[in-house]
Symmetry: C2
Subunit: 329 residues, 2 copies
DNA sequence: CTGAAAGCGCTTACAG
DNA sequence: CTGAAAGCGCTTACAG
C-alpha cells in the first residue's frame, strides 16, 4: 500500500509537506504542492483514515442507533441524516438494536470505541442506565423521537398530534371511539399519544370504555389482532371510529374490518399516524399525520454538527406535523 | 481517555499482556488475566479501534453502497446484511449514491480509505470505470442485483421471473398486454425483465405494439404517468393487461386506472415485481414476485465473510423467487 | 516555506 | 507465562 512516506519520497519533500498539501493547511510553495499532487494522482494514493483518526481523535463518522433498520421511519430519518452529514464529509455507521433496549447501551460503547465523532439515537424508551451510558460517552449526542433529560432531543409533537386527530374525529360526529396503541415503555408513542387522545375525549365529556382499548407492537399483524379483539368484545355496543397510533397498525386494523365486511368510513372510521407511503394508496386512503421524519433526521444531523463545532446548545426541539385528511374518516 | 498503558500500569503487567487477555490469544496466567479484567471493568476501558486497525489492517467494518438509502428494497437488504455481519462483530458503513452512478466509484475509494474489510455494492448498472475501481480496490467485494464480470455477484432471476409472470397473464386469456419498464442503463430491471416479457409474448405469437410500452424511473409517480400515456395513446385499441417491472410503478399505474374508473382486474389486469409490503394491502391486492431481498442481503454478507476468510470463491449466485398470485389479475 | 522528531494506542515477532 | 521494542501511517508543535 502506498503511504504518505512513499509520496514524500517520490515528490522529493518531507511527509510533513505532503500532509500539509493534503489537508490544505500551513504554507506550501506552489511547486511543492504541484509535485505532491501529481504523485498523488499517479499513484492513486488514499490516506489511511485509521492513522489519521488515531492521531487527531476524529474519525469523520457519525454513529446512528436504530431500533429497527428496515422500517420506513428509520430509512427516512437515516436519509435525512445522511443528506446533511455527507455534505460535510461524514460517514454514517449504522447500528440496529432490533428493538432490544439493552443493545442501545452496548452500541453506544461500541461506537465510542470506533471513535465516532457523535451519535444520533432513535430512542424508543428512556431509562437510567441509558442516560448514564450517554453521559459516560462524553460525545456529542442527539436523541430523536423521545425527550431524554440532559440530552439534546428532537421530538415529534405526539401529544398535540393526537389531540388534533381526536378533535377531528369528534367533529365528524363520532362519540364512540376505540383506541389501538402500544405499550407504555415508549413514552412518546405509548404514553403521549394516548394522553392526547384521552384528554381530548375527556374534555368532550366522553368516557372511553376499557374494552375499547387494545394494544399492539407496531406490526401490521398486531393492528389486525387489536381490531379483532375490540370488535369481538363489543358486539353489543360497537364503536364507530378507531384511533390508531401508527399507520401500520391502522392498516392491519383496516384489513380486519374489510374482511368482516365493515365499510370504511361508513361503518367504522379509522385514523393512523406517520404518513407511511402506503397510507396514501390503500383503499380507502388513510387519514394520518405526517411527522416529516426526513426533516427530523436532517435537523438531528445539523444539531450534531453544531455540537461538533463546540456550540453546546443543549435543547429540546419539537418538530411540527401536518394532519392529512383523506377518505378513512 | 484510558489507554492500554493505563490498564497495564494499574494491573501491574505489561501492555503486551493486557493485549493478550483482551484478544484472548497467547498464554496468560490466570492471576494476570483476573487482574487485567478487573481493572478493565473498573475503568470501563474501551480499546481504540483506530489504533488496532492501523496496526492490524482490519477494521471490522463492512462498507455498503446503496443506490438510495430510504427505499424498501435497500432497507430489507441492509437488514439481511446486518443480521449476519453483526453476529461476527462487524459493523456496517453505509453510503448512498442517490442514484448518481459516478458516486459508486467515489465511495469505493472512500471506503477503501476507511480500511473497510469488504464492500457490498447494490449495483444498478455496469460500466468499465466501475469494474476498474473494484479491481483497484483489491478488497473482498460482492455485487448484489447485477452481474459484474469478475466479481462475485448475487443476482435476482429477473429473466425467468418476467417469463413466469407473463406466462401467467397469458394463461388468464389476455392477449393485449402493455409494458411499463425502466431505462436500459439498468441491465437487470431495464433489460432482463423486458426481455423475459418480450420473449414470452413472441413465443405466444403476439406482437407487442410499440405504443403499449412506456418507461418510468422507479417512482410511483412515473408509474402513474406511464399508465396515463399508454391509455391515452390507445383509445381505439386498448390493452387489457399491463406488466409493470416494479411494485411501486404498478401502484402508481393502479392509481391512474382507478381515477379513470377502470375496474381492476376486470377492465385492466396489472402485475408488479418486488413484493413491497404495500402490494398486499392495496385494493385490489397486487400480484407480484417476491425476490427475498433480505435473504439476498444475508447471502451477500455470507459470501463476503467467506472471502474475508480467504476462500476466494468467485461465483455468481442466482436468487430464487416466488410468484404471489393475488387479486389484480 | 520546510523538515526532523515525537507521539497517537495498539499488536506482534522475538527473547527470555 | 511475560515484557521490551519496533512499527502501523498519520499530524503537529517546534525550530529553522
Amino acid at each position: 500500500m502506498t503511504t504518505i512516506n512513499d509520496i514524500a519520497k517520490m515528490a522529493n519533500v518531507s511527509r510533513t509537506t505532503v500532509s500539509r498539501v493534503l489537508n490544505n493547511n500551513g504554507y506550501v510553495s506552489e511547486s511543492a504542492r504541484k509535485r505532491v499532487m501529481q504523485v498523488v494522482e499517479e499513484t492513486g494514493y488514499i490516506p489511511s483514515v485509521s492513522a489519521k483518526s488515531l492521531r487527531t481523535k476524529r474519525s469523520g463518522v457519525i454513529g446512528v442507533i436504530l431500533p429497527k433498520i428496515s422500517t420506513e421511519t428509520a430509512s427516512r430519518v437515516v436519509g435525512g441524516i445522511n443528506e446533511v452529514v455527507s455534505k460535510e464529509g461524514f460517514q454514517i455507521l449504522l447500528t440496529d438494536t432490533e428493538l432490544h433496549h439493552e443493545k442501545e447501551i452496548e452500541y453506544i460503547r461500541l461506537l465510542q470505541s470506533r471513535h465516532v465523532d457523535g451519535i444520533i439515537l432513535l430512542a424508543t424508551n428512556v431509562n437510567d442506565p441509558l442516560l448514564h451510558a450517554i453521559e459516560e460517552a462524553k460525545l456529542p449526542f442527539i436523541s430523536l423521537g423521545q425527550e431524554l433529560p440532559g440530552v439534546t432531543s428532537i421530538v415529534y409533537d405526539d401529544y398535540h398530534a393526537a389531540v388534533d386527530m381526536t378533535t377531528m374525529i369528534l367533529q365528524k360526529g363520532h362519540k364512540k371511539i376505540a383506541y389501538i396503541g402500544v405499550g407504555e415503555e415508549d413514552p412518546a408513542v405509548g404514553v403521549l399519544r394516548k394522553k392526547g387522545f384521552m384528554d381530548t375525549m375527556k374534555k368532550a365529556g366522553i368516557t372511553v370504555e376499557e374494552n375499547w382499548c387494545s394494544y399492539g407492537d407496531f406490526s401490521i399483524e398486531s393492528g389486525y389482532e387489536s381490531m379483532k379483539q375490540i370488535i369481538n368484545s363489543n358486539r353489543e355496543n360497537s364503536p364507530t371510529a378507531v384511533f390508531v397510533v401508527t399507520d401500520r397498525m391502522a392498516i392491519g386494523a383496516m384489513e380486519y374490518l374489510k374482511e368482516q365486511g365493515f365499510r370504511i368510513p361508513e361503518d367504522m372510521a379509522i385514523t393512523g399516524i406517520g404518513a407511511a407511503v402506503m397510507s396514501k394508496y390503500i383503499t380507502p386512503s388513510l387519514t394520518t399525520i405526517d411527522y416529516f421524519n426526513k426533516d427530523a433526521g436532517s435537523k438531528a444531523a445539523e444539531l450534531l454538527l453544531e455540537q461538533l463545532q463546540g456550540k453546546n446548545t443543549r435543547k429540546k426541539i419539537t418538530q411540527n406535523y401536518r394532519l392529512i385528511k383523506r377518505d378513512s374518516v
